[in-house]
Amino acid sequence: MAYLVLSDIEKTYGQFRALEGVSLSVAEGEFVCFLGPSGCGKTTLLRIIAGLDRQSAGRVEIAGKDCSAAPPEQRDYGIVFQSYALFPNLTVARNVAYGLASGGGGASKASERRVAEMLELVGLPDIGGRYPGQLSGGQQQRIALARALAPAPRLLLLDEPLSALDARVRLSLRRQIRALHDRLNLTTIMVTHDQEEALTLADRIVVMNRGHIEQAGTPGEIYAHPASLFVAGFVGAMNFFSVTATGKDSVRLGPLELACGHDHDSGSPLTLCVRPEDMILTGEGLPARIESVDFLGPVHRALLSAEGLGSFSIDLAAEQMRDFALESGREVRIKLPSERLQLFPGHPS
């Protein structure tokens, strides 16, 4: 069942269109990531869901209720910001109790219990008496999370919550966020520009660019079947080739004629996308020359160049490296498997 429904959201600042034609529906219990480069409108969209910014046009529906014009306090959600925004003059416990019914006056038994429960939940049970300035960044962000979750919202909004943290803290906090989501049966929306974060955390990724949604799908779909050239280039490593359609089931790539089903007119310019791990090193196919080899751990990534086609990369297993004695300067031949090729109209820019 859809918990959050956005219909035709538009946001303009004077002449600038920050968002246009954004429609999306998020199921209850789903973990969705808004992914995109900075300035793509993902944070604006989150703030519109939160009611912190008001859309210029369109409809926001939360839990079956039209919230398009509702102020933030009439929407049921918790939010965490990149900068934590903890109140520096209040103790951790009072920060967490801030959104609870009795947060204003003396702490009631119920709110005290809730604070203890929340601090337990984020794994920081004993620091209620301290001030935010005395905590590490990761601890502050967990407190911000506890504060957002204390009023038991069903929707959790996260605005780049991990960007300001170091890698190890980020990794463990990422797991913790996902575990909290599952345990509390939350519906979660997280804004991020980190594709690895989105790929590992999300049930569904919404890739955004220049104010509109490029594609929404599971991490697997986004990775294997990008819906646009932008998504193909933004998520994961990708090689681009300029090709020309030669018929309904083939394209011309330099000297090669590749079998590849499509419905573009013969002669139209196309972009062919292949991921480095899908390229195959064989005795036949596209002649190329190894320019350099990078060691990535489980695999090596070789940078190749081919006459008239520019450079591209290919992933090679350690045993291939040994068996073929691959090194810079070697001439090799590369096969592009037709079932892994993606075609998009127009030439790459």
Partner: protein, 551 residues
């Protein structure tokens, strides 16, 4: 932010704008109209302006005013910056004491330093030899007394600007190999830039507008402020007086422009992630700052001590017998001690009303989203009183509220009107202090509280106000003591039932009973100083309760 909060904040901003329009723009508009009328209220076109341009004494006064104000600003900032820096960024002992001493000039009317300078360096002054033949009367005396009077305001603004800073910036700079000088010029100074610009313009326009000091020390050196008084009280020529007043309004546009320009460059210095700067002990630097603050403090106190001394002797320099007769004010002024009671009521009302108005207005313009046009209006109106000499504002009040048909004319001559006029007159410093403190808070608190369904007023009360409490207390005490000493804003507005002590001092000075004038200055000084001590105690308790996070 959406609907409910949006229209509420629009309504509040509108309320602030309306208040300032009625009680600031209205009177100034009435004054502007007066510029085109003769003394009987007939329209005479630009004749008053022509009279101004063809009077060499008025043109000379314009040059004198600008010169005095520029020199006062330069000297005051040069002296005040190291003082404020020592108070905030060194670990010297006795900071609370120095802070209190820096505020001493605020506790007395500006007539006090003028009177003291006369007794120190005047023709029969105790130290007249120091002057080596130069006359105190003229630019020298005016500038020295003006620096004394403006010093606390510069220190107030600069300390607020310097008191919060991110220690991580300094650590980052050290790690990059920056020495103390480079850190000062790349972190401290840019961080204090907004405060410096604000302080410069507050000092500049205050010294331009003050008329108590040039009244006593001007001699044959006319300035614009005394010329307004001369035209209005001496010559009863309201039209030309209004034109001279208008000539003083030019700095307003400059101040506005500089404030906007500087505000655009100011980003939040203290985010929730910041680590508060704690000055480290440094024996050399600390004793240097202590010596400097000590010398400045001794000079400030010396000038006050001279006033006290004069008020307690029979007749300088001929009869030095101690006496309390100068304090029997009934002998010199018909209001007697009653004027002092009026001043207390005026000051208390101004402090309550003014603190709520200036901090509330600054919060609305700095922290609520949207309504850029309305905010610019409120900010502009909040800054405008800086360049409006109190007398000009007071004149405007006469012209505006005394005009037949004004529904508010019932206010005329009441204590309420004196309070409102004083609040408006002093609005800018309060607004700037509040805005400087608010700008240093993280911008996301309001969004967080909205998401937690906590009404904005509660976050205002539980987070914003506690974080800004030092600035709020500073504003309240500034308003109180300034209202105790203000002359210019109320000199045309009082009635016998509301005549404040500061006006009584002016009357006594004019009638030649100077020692009694000094004595009433000392009464104001003593009461304000007493209140300041109570304030320091209260502040200490409140800070312990609300600023625990800083320790």
């Amino acid at each position: 932010m959406t609907s409910g909060i949006r229209w509420k904040s629009a309504l509040l901003l509108g309320g602030w704008a309306a208040f300032l329009l009625v009680f600031l723009a209205g009177p100034l508009g009435a004054l502007l109209v007066k510029c085109f009328e003769d003394r009987y209220g007939n329209w005479i076109g630009a004749a008053n302006f022509a009279a101004f341009l063809h009077a060499p004494n008025l043109i000379g006064a314009t040059h004198h005013s600008l010169f005095i104000a520029a020199l006062t600003t330069l000297i005051t900032l040069t002296l005040a910056f190291p003082f404020a820096f020592g108070l905030t960024r060194s670990a010297m002992p006795g900071k609370a004491l120095f802070r209190a001493v820096a505020g001493v000039p605020l506790l007395a009317p500006s007539l006090l330093p003028a009177l003291s300078l006369v007794y120190l360096f005047g023709n029969k002054g105790m130290l007249r030899g120091v002057m080596v033949g130069h006359s105190l009367y003229g630019p020298i005396g005016i500038v020295v007394a003006s620096v004394f009077a403006a010093f606390p305001q510069a220190v107030l603004i600069l300390t607020t600007a310097l008191s919060v800073s991110d220690a991580r910036l300094y650590e980052a700079a050290r790690a990059l190999g920056a020495g103390p000088v480079r850190r000062f010029f790349t972190i401290t100074l840019p961080g204090a830039q907004y405060g410096l610009v604000s302080a410069a313009f507050v000092v500049f326009t205050c010294s331009l507008s003050d008329f108590g000091i040039p009244m006593v020390l001007g001699g044959h050196y006319p300035v614009l402020a005394t010329e307004v008084f001369e035209q209005v009280v001496g010559l009863q020529d309201f039209g030309v007086g209004a034109v001279v007043g208008l000539a003083l309004l030019i700095p307003v546009s400059l101040a506005l422009w500089a404030e906007n320009w500087s505000a655009k460059r100011q980003k939040a210095l203290l985010s929730a992630r910041s680590v508060l700067f704690r000055p480290a002990r440094d024996r050399t630097a600390d004793s240097g700052f202590m010596a400097y603050c000590g010398v400045i403090g001794a000079l400030l106190l010396g000038i006050v001590a001279m006033g006290a001394f004069v008020s307690l002797i029979t007749f300088w320099p001929y009869n030095l017998t101690p006496t309390l007769k100068n304090y029997d004010f009934g002998r010199f002024d018909e209001a007697g001690w009653g004027s002092f009671g009026h001043s207390l009521i005026l000051a208390a009302g101004t402090a309550l009303l003014g603190t709520a108005l200036t901090f509330g207005g600054a919060y609305l313009t700095e922290k609520l989203p949207g309504f850029a046009g309305l905010k610019r209006l409120v900010r502009g109106l909040a800054m405008a009183p800086l360049g409006v000499p109190g007398m000009v504002l007071g004149l405007g009040y006469i012209f505006f509220f005394d005009r037949p048909g004004n529904p508010l004319s019932g206010l005329y001559g009441t204590m309420a009107m004196l309070m409102v006029c004083t609040c408006v007159h002093l609005y800018s410093v309060g607004h700037l202090t509040a805005a400087t403190a608010l700008k240093q808070l993280d911008g996301e608190y309001e969004a967080v509280s909205a998401s937690l369904k906590v009404p904005l007023w509660r976050t205002f009360g539980r987070v914003t106000v506690p974080l800004c409490l030092p600035a709020i207390l500073d504003i309240a005490i500034y308003l109180f003591v300034t209202a105790m000493t203000t002359v210019s804003a109320v000199v045309f507005l009082y009635s016998p039932d509301s005549k404040p002590a500061s006006v009584a001092i002016l009357n006594m000075d004019e009638s030649g009973t100077v020692a009694a004038a000094a004595a009433l200055c000392m009464v104001i000084f003593a009461s304000s100083a007493g209140l300041r001590l109570v304030h320091m105690g209260v502040e200490r308790v409140l800070l312990r309760r609300t600023q625990g996070w800083k320790r």
